[in-house]
């Protein structure tokens, strides 16, 4: 059974036709029945049921409940939820119970949404397949032998499997859009700073964004309107004037100019994926959208820049996992050095170690200028190039991933091949712009995602545009 639209779920709860409790029970049931997909690390049975009861009572007592009253959701396991285990799918945080919680979770709870589970992910969000989870691999709902994508694989699979109406993920280089594409759901990565990062385990702080997985764009807008907005706990959040609104504005397709990114439709992509994307573009043209091809030559450098800057921030952000205050600590250390060494050696997985080493290297004296500083310079160029293109176009368009979901283990031997999965998604993070992946068709029974990007802070326009595409052409 699939969930109705979020508006309808809330209406039913408010009218008494349904209840928050039934929604939560259904979600928990769904989770249990689909355990073979390994989408979930832990469930919040008691907490969620208690919250649902409270909301139902409040409704009966005519108390004010929020715009997401009684809607169950799943959060990626890098969101801190008060008093709930938060591992980021890593051994080093196993057994860590959060003593405070993410601002995004607070805002959702304030509006009556109920967190029922924590989703699997690549440990610390390092990866594109959820194969880097220190615990288990999440399977693709469309083909159990394939990956769900990553790093928010558990969150994407949760929505694809209809466990819940929406889930939260994080996107640092494509970690929402790529699994959304692989699992056939809507994955929205807002502008950098649109949603507070406070209480979310940091990966690359200048790239990290928090976003949603939903079955449709209007649900995404509704949930995003709740979690977006300025937060005093995160100094990089945008002012409230840019906040995402829940209402959907009508767009005149004839007034829209869309650029098709030439570099994203090269010969390196699966021809069937390309065909699917091109047919979507044809439909847009038919509806009157002005579509033209654009080239952003510096895009070719995006992946290289990303894999210098992101590991640098990762190495720095992972310094706090030192076995001294929380999480795993090597119990038999004879001295401080051994405690650091063994705690981190045993606690981190291979991918985290790889990235810590790369990051440490590019920040080392003597290499800083050659790598980190140069990468920052190219990042600035990339930002300028995108700004330039957005002077002429409202949105940019292309595939989300060059291919459909790959087989589990298929890319485990080549890090580079794995990293190439991010080639079309990292630019949006480096530039800070909002981007969405929408399912637009199937190739060999596997979903294909269309990626649409907008200028920074134009999140509302992007969602309105995508909603109308969904409504009018049922891609």
């Amino acid at each position: 059974m699939s969930w109705p639209k979020i508006d309808d779920i809330v209406s039913a709860v408010l009218s008494g036709e349904n209840s928050a409790l039934l929604n939560v029970q259904l979600a928990l049931d769904n989770i249990q029945k689909n355990s073979q997909y390994n989408a979930i690390i832990s469930t919040l049975d008691k907490e969620a049921l208690d919250k649902a009861n409270k909301i139902d009572q409040d409704i009966k007592a005519n108390k004010k409940v929020g715009i997401l009253a009684g809607v169950p959701f799943i959060a990626k396991d890098n969101f801190l939820v008060f008093d709930v285990q938060t591992t980021a799918a890593s051994n080093i945080l196993k057994g860590f119970y959060a003593p405070y919680q993410a601002s995004a979770i607070n805002r959702l709870e304030d509006e009556g949404a109920i967190c029922v589970a924590k989703a699997n992910m690549d440990a610390f969000a390092h990866g594109s397949s959820t194969e880097n989870s220190d615990f288990f691999i999440t399977k693709n709902p469309h083909d159990i032998n394939r990956v769900a994508g990553g790093s928010s694989g558990g969150s994407a699979a949760s929505v694809a499997l209809d466990l819940v109406p929406f889930s939260l993920g994080t996107d640092t280089g494509g970690s929402i859009r790529q699994p959304a594409s692989f699992c056939g759901v809507v994955g929205f990565k807002p502008s950098y700073g649109m949603v507070s990062r406070s209480g979310v385990v940091a990966m690359g702080s200048s790239l990290d964004t928090i976003g949603t997985f939903t079955k449709n764009v209007s649900d995404s807008k509704r949930v995003s309107s709740v979690i977006s907005g300025n937060d005093p706990l995160d100094s990089t959040t945008l002012p409230d004037q840019y906040r995402i609104t829940s209402n959907l504005e009508k767009i005149d397709f004839k007034s829209i100019k869309v650029g098709i990114i030439k570099e994203y439709l090269s010969d390196n992509i699966n021809p069937k994926v390309k065909e699917t994307i091109l047919s979507s573009i044809a439909k847009l043209k038919f509806l009157g959208v002005n579509v033209q091809e654009v080239s952003i030559p510096s895009l070719d450098l995006a992946l290289a820049v990303y894999y210098v800057l992101c590991p640098a921030e990762i190495a720095s952000n992972l310094s706090r996992y030192d076995g001294q205050r929380f999480g795993y600590s090597y119990p038999d250390a004879q001295n401080l050095d051994e405690s650091y060494l063994k705690s981190r050696t045993n606690g981190f997985g291979d991918e985290a170690k790889t990235r810590i080493m790369i990051g440490t290297y590019v920040l080392s004296s003597g290499y800083y200028d050659a790598y980190y500083k140069k990468a920052q310079t190219v990042r600035t160029k990339l930002i300028n190039d995108f700004n330039q293109v957005f002077n002429s176009y409202d949105f940019l368009l292309g595939p989300t991933v060059p291919d459909t979901a790959f087989k589990i283990g298929e890319k485990s031997n080549s890090k580079l091949e794995m990293y190439l999965n991010d080639i079309m998604t990292v630019a949006a993070n480096l530039v800070g712009i909002p981007a969405i992946s929408m399912p637009v068709g199937m190739v060999d029974n596997l979903p294909v995602g269309l990626q649409i990007m907008a200028p920074i802070t134009k999140d509302n326009q992007l969602l309105d545009f995508c909603n109308q595409i969904e409504d009018e052409i049922c891609l």
Partner: protein, 485 residues
């Protein structure tokens, strides 16, 4: 010139000033470093929990901006924060948030009087950073303890140019820095609690080339700065004279033994992997903000030094007055600079040598500062007319300070028989009497034991109940004894 003076001393000082913000630099925890209860002023940010983000305390920017003006500089319109990485249990995040290449203050100077000359020491830069926690290693145990109350408290690190040429200058620089930071009202300035800590870089050289330097860490008193440099100078000169090398290293100071000791070698420079902190947007100050800060600044020591020097006051008196100014909103300074040089000299002496020790040693006086200043004006005029002796002035001021209102001074000294007796005839009587009563002492004086005259003066004071003019009786005694010869 002694042999050691062949070697030139070059000193640069880094000073960590703890800013008096209510909360920490990047979190809402109280900035109070409670020594008695460890780990109480700690929240998720100070503890370095996953997902915790630093949020800049705007008050710290305000205080650093004030410090900029105190250092004859001004705050930078653009500055940013960087991460400085190293692992230590009292550094929860694994990095310190500091300012690397674009600090809040660039350039500036600190001026002070040294042997009546104005010495100017250049300021290279000053940057904001968060302090680490405290590691405690209990003796005889196999564990260490960490207290994070101090972790994240705001520091302004002020880096001087290597312009300081002697241990005394270094001490004076530190004292002046203390005064400046107190005048700018940016720190509580309690040295005992480490509110200002000094790292001193010392090198010696025979020629113009700078020698290898040793850094002496964590000095927290002016005296220890002077002593540590003197020790370090001797140590380095000794090494060079024995054809040994001075190594670039970090040294500690043992105040009990009076020696510096090796903490760690710096030959393999630490790599802190500085990186701009992506969690913190740059600090951008507009002209209006900077102008407002400038306008809110009090008059600084430089201004007062210039005025007081023109009144011919001694260096030590000037610095005492500057320190006193902190306790009374500069009221005494404002008062003294309106006086003529003679009054200024007398009255600053009353304040520094009588009032200040009195306040320090007992309860604060009951008389208001206005009444005290009135009192000093009156006494100064009496002193200038030789109506009251200096020893009686001391008694008088001490007594009157404790009264709840200012009495009529003329009446008061008459009643208390504090008027100085300068009556020649009366005094001559007493002089003659004392000489007659002490023939042996007079013999001694005649034999050249000059200090014996002090005894006779004491006797005369006793006879006159302390009212005799001491200058006058000294003169009369000498005349009388000469006459006898």
């Amino acid at each position: 010139m002694t042999e050691e003076n062949e070697y030139k001393l070059t000193i640069g000082i880094e000073c960590h000033v703890q800013l008096k913000t209510k909360t920490k630099l990047f979190s809402g925890s109280l900035n109070q470093d409670d020594q008695s209860r460890p780990n109480v002023d700690v929240n998720h940010i100070d503890f370095g929990l996953p997902g915790a983000l630093p949020v800049l305390n705007k008050d710290a920017i305000k205080l650093a901006s004030r410090a900029a003006f105190a250092l004859n500089s001004q705050p930078q319109k653009f500055s940013k924060f960087d991460r400085k990485h190293y692992f230590y249990p009292d550094l929860p995040m694994g990095y310190q948030i500091s300012q690397y290449d674009q600090p809040i203050i660039l350039g500036g100077s600190v001026n002070f009087l040294s042997n009546d000359q104005i010495v100017k020491i250049g300021i290279t830069r000053a940057h904001l950073e968060s302090d680490a926690g405290k590691s405690i290693h209990p003796e005889g145990t196999d564990y260490s303890l960490v207290d994070l109350n101090r972790a994240g408290t705001p520091l302004l690190e002020i880096v001087s140019e290597p312009d300081i040429k002697s241990a005394l200058q270094a001490k004076q620089y530190a004292q002046t820095l203390y005064l400046l930071m107190r005048y700018a009202d940016v720190t509580v300035g309690n040295l005992f609690f480490g509110n200002m800590r000094f790292d001193v870089n010392v090198s010696v050289s025979k020629d113009e080339n700078l020698g290898k330097r040793a850094e002496i860490k964590n000095l927290n008193s002016f005296r220890s700065i002077e002593r540590a440099i003197n020790y370090e100078y001797k140590r380095q000169v000794e090494l060079l004279k024995n054809n040994q090398q001075v190594h670039q290293e970090t040294r500690g100071w043992d105040d009990n033994k009076g020696i510096t000791y090796l903490m760690r070698s710096k030959e393999n420079a630490d790599d802190y992997r500085y990186m701009p902190d992506p969690d913190l947007p740059p600090v951008i100050l507009d002209d209006m903000y900077i102008a407002n800060i400038k306008q809110s600044m009090p008059l600084l020591p430089d201004y007062w030094i210039d005025k007081l020097k023109k009144l011919n006051l001694d260096e030590s008196i000037i610095y005492s007055l500057l320190e006193d100014g902190l306790d009374n909103q500069f009221s005494n300074l404002q008062f003294i600079v309106t006086l003529d040089p003679q009054d200024a000299k007398l009255i600053s002496n009353y304040i520094v040598n009588i009032e200040m020790p009195e306040i320090k040693n007992s309860e604060a006086p009951i008389l208001s500062i206005d009444q005290r200043q009135q009192l000093y004006l009156k006494i100064s005029s009496l002193a200038r007319q030789n109506i009251i002796s200096s020893s009686n002035i001391k008694v008088l001021i001490k007594d009157i300070l404790k009264l709840d209102k200012l009495p009529d001074i003329d009446q008061y000294i008459a009643q208390n028989k504090l008027v100085q007796n300068s009556d020649l005839d009366q005094l001559n009587e007493v002089v003659k009497k004392v000489i007659l009563e002490n023939p042996k002492v007079v013999e001694d004086i005649k034999a050249g034991v000059q200090k014996a005259i002090g005894f006779l003066i004491g006797q005369i004071m006793k006879e006159t109940k302390g009212q005799a003019n001491p200058v006058l009786i000294n003169k009369l005694l000498n005349e009388q004894i000469k006459k006898e010869e």
